[in-house]
Symmetry: C2
Subunit: 515 residues, 2 copies
């Protein structure tokens, strides 16, 4: 057996092992409704079944394998590649993006205020750091902030939203969180309630960001899929929402909808008109809107523009004043890509006052989000102004990131589209491409034989043979018998060129092997 | 009506308003099992009932009122006090504690690595910062770490535990989290499972840290109270555990126990023998142990010493090798008190491998804890060593905090015990005193008239008349007809002297008024 085959076999074993373990676990759990005899207080039989059912598309065995390969390379192992390119998640800094100086200077100063006396720190950085420190108990970031976040930062977020939308924003409706995901999970948890004997359902786009399927499973909520239209650049169509609601109504109360705009993994940017139609549909069906707008600063395609749900809803007039909306944003994306710092927020609109009071209570019993993450949020929503010492550097760095992303978004889609069997929609926005691949029937057979879905089989081989880690489409959901994968567009120019080159060579070889 | 009475009346209205609102909400919710007609997708009738039932003892109306008073004072309002002393939570920095220089320097350097070239940063700080940066994707804290935390820090935590206990610790059993509370909630969520038609129950000490009651309510788990013995310095007695389990077995499956050591709010430190007895009891009853050991570095009383459950369990031998344990620690307490930075961890011992695999999966679908909080954890578990440039300053700062806490722990208990009607156990450890107060019958009547429990009535008046915010004992649980409050011992010496003086004067006046 050749080296290559051994590698493919070991990847296949890995995947099969993990799948078999999961399947066996589920079987055991299903078989037994009662507490098993064991010396342990907690066994698979007695564990929260929602945890057993959880799936983790973007952090599964493939990512574990990528980490093993990285370690092996670091220890001098010989592979057909020199390093692993982890294009599986939107992690800008991991792929070479540099931090924005102003943001990091402010964070460093609030962490270690002695820096406020140093001449190498610009005056506006010091001023901002002092303002934030003055808002903390004992003027220290080590004190807890209010659970909703520091008031001064919530006010700055509201100002930022006002400026973005030209619509009023009330800072009391803004709640800071440790990244958007925490706020999203908190808001989803409000729907854990069986009404008329049926669980709550939440409309989720397919393909979707797998955090949603995981959170819904964790909370025992029903995921109601609506398919995006790949032929129309992953368009969101109201008749499809209608179909999804009608079909799901037998098994659950559909009470909310998640819209990801710009789309993850699909990269589409919704038009003003589409958003209007979605809001209208939600009002008609009494749906609470989760607007996942964490990629709002990542829009590239000519003619595309980000419109927030909040703005469109407000402009639809007082007829829609009861339409509930939670809009999420994060510093993990945009042009700063500060995922590790954990900063984000939700703006809540038109939520029932009694519900708000209870949600505020639930927020209050949690400890505050990290104050340093909050600081980073402040720098994003209130960057340096023209005339301030840090302005030129800041705008230079920001534009460089944005221009680079724009180029890469274009380059990645056009490269994929030049490859046989690939079909990739324009990356209008966000940080990912989600191309469709047509796999030869023999590859599909080989995947089945290896106990994998064909997209997983392809991604496994890509990792083992070329060192590129992408996420198979099945983790995001895809129409039956279509195969995709998600790759981020974030690798820095040189790395992306290398990745696309490696990709092309791998794909040609793959096609030759299975044709 | 005098100024004083107006103030008392307004506090009473505030409290009654909040209570009435809560009660009404609960009534409405109970009355209606079905979805109410409303334009909103989410109303009180259709909200997750566990959120409606949530209570927030240490962040309720009293804290809100304290914040209003602070704002009024800042705007120049005349009050009988110049500032509000927020002794309600263990928030060291808010009460004047200074950060540990080494920790903050490392955090600043990883946030803004340009500092690594500056001569005013000590070499060991630079070295540590570089080590941590090298472990991050793209050498930036802005990249996501693994969901369990950076491996290098998990290894340092394991080393720290090994040195503490003289027992082996496996870094793979250590999971970093954004403060201990996130890890505690994650572990509690494993027990959400009705077995034989009964929900899971968790033994919780009374008095207890209210995060537990809130988390249990949120997860729909049954809180099974076991009372600590106030007469024996809040001792934990196995017969009381036995009683609690027996009584609760009718309504739930008791599956886990929370032990807080050193105690919050009660300040007791468990002896080696007591921990042994508790572990033995847990094995007999198949209970998973939650060892909340976040105050392990805060032990003051002569003869008292912290023993970790992990150490005792390990030393009990292989007969106990199946006893499950989750031990929690945090950088929010100890001598650093960095609550705002959000760093903590859990060590999992003897957990069933299939359960572990599923828990790891649940951790993996969540985004990592803040990398800067993880950095702070690293500084706590691996501080400067003798001979390193930062060692002297670090040890000086550490000892200063610890000595100060020791003095304050003593001072606060002895001051309370010198006041009529007060009875305060020795503060052996942790950051709080929880004195019992005997209130005159007329004060109890006045409380009833004001629609408050007597401890709330006392705490309200203390806030309105003296500007000191403490937490009423009812939020932590107390035996019927006993009244307590919790105050932190954290105010800096001068502030604490002032607080105790104000307290004494207020109490004398209160007793005179109601005697």
């Amino acid at each position: 057996m050749s080296q290559m085959k051994i590698r493919a076999a070991s990847a296949s074993q890995l995947w099969r092992g993990a799948s078999a373990r999961c399947a066996e676990e589920t079987r055991v759990w299903k078989r037994s409704g009662v507490r098993a005899r064991s010396n342990k207080a907690l066994t698979l039989n007695t564990l929260n079944p929602n945890i057993v059912k959880l799936k983790c598309a973007d952090r599964g065995p493939l990512v574990e394998r990528a980490e093993v390969l990285e370690k092996e390379l670091a220890m001098g192992a010989l592979k057909p590649f020199k390093h692993v390119i982890k294009a599986n998640i939107g992690d800008g800094h991991a792929l070479g993006q540099r931090p924005i100086t102003y943001l990091r200077q402010v964070v460093a100063c609030v962490a270690f205020p002695d820096l406020l006396t140093k001449s190498h720190i610009p005056a506006d950085v010091k001023e901002r750091a002092q303002l934030l420190l003055d808002s903390c108990g004992g003027k220290s970031m080590g004190s807890y902030s209010a659970s909703h976040g520091l008031e001064v930062i919530r006010r700055h977020v509201a100002d930022y939203i006002e400026a973005r939308d030209s619509c009023p924003a009330d800072w009391r409706n803004v709640c800071l969180s440790a990244g958007a995901s925490r706020a999203i999970k908190l808001c989803l948890s409000m729907f854990c309630n069986d009404l008329d004997g049926k669980p709550s359902g939440v409309l989720v786009p397919v393909p979707q960001y797998p955090m949603y399927s995981a959170a819904l499973a964790e909370f025992g909520l029903v995921q109601v899929d609506y398919f995006l239209d790949e032929e129309r650049n992953w368009g969101l169509k109201v008749p499809e929402l209608q179909r999804a609601v009608e079909e799901a109504s037998k098994r659950c109360n559909v009470r909310a909808i998640v819209v990801i705009n710009p789309g993850n993994p699909t990269g589409q940017v919704l038009t003003y008109e589409t958003i209007k139609r979605v809001i209208h549909f939600c009002r008609e069906h009494g749906l609470f809107i989760f607007a996942d707008e964490v990629h709002q600063d990542n829009v590239y395609a000519p003619g595309c523009r980000f419109h927030s749900f909040k703005k469109v809803l407000t402009e639809m007039g007082c007829e829609y004043k009861d339409q509930e909306l939670a809009s999420f944003n994060s510093i993990s994306k945009g042009y700063v890509c500060e995922g590790g710092l954990r900063g984000g927020w939700v703006e809540l609109c038109n939520v029932d006052p009694e519900v708000r009071a209870n949600l505020d209570k639930a927020i209050s019993v949690s400890v505050c989000p990290t104050t340093l993450g909050q600081t980073a949020v402040d720098c994003v929503v209130k960057p340096p102004m023209p005339g301030e010492p840090s302005y030129c550097k800041w705008i230079f760095e920001k534009i460089a990131v944005q221009e680079s992303l724009k180029q890469k978004a274009h380059m990645i889609a056009s490269t994929f589209n030049s490859m046989p069997g690939f079909q990739c929609n324009i990356v209008q926005g966000a940080l990912y491409a989600f191309p469709r691949i047509v796999l030869p029937p023999r590859a599909v057979d080989a995947a089945v034989e290896a106990g994998m879905t064909p997209d997983v089989f392809y991604a496994c081989k890509l990792l083992e043979e070329a060192g590129v880690c992408v996420m198979p489409g099945s983790g995001f959901g895809q129409r039956p018998d279509t195969y995709h994968f998600r790759t981020t567009i974030l690798p820095q120019h040189q790395l992306l060129m290398e990745m696309l080159d490696v990709f092309r060579k791998f794909h040609n070889k793959f096609i030759k092997e299975y044709c």
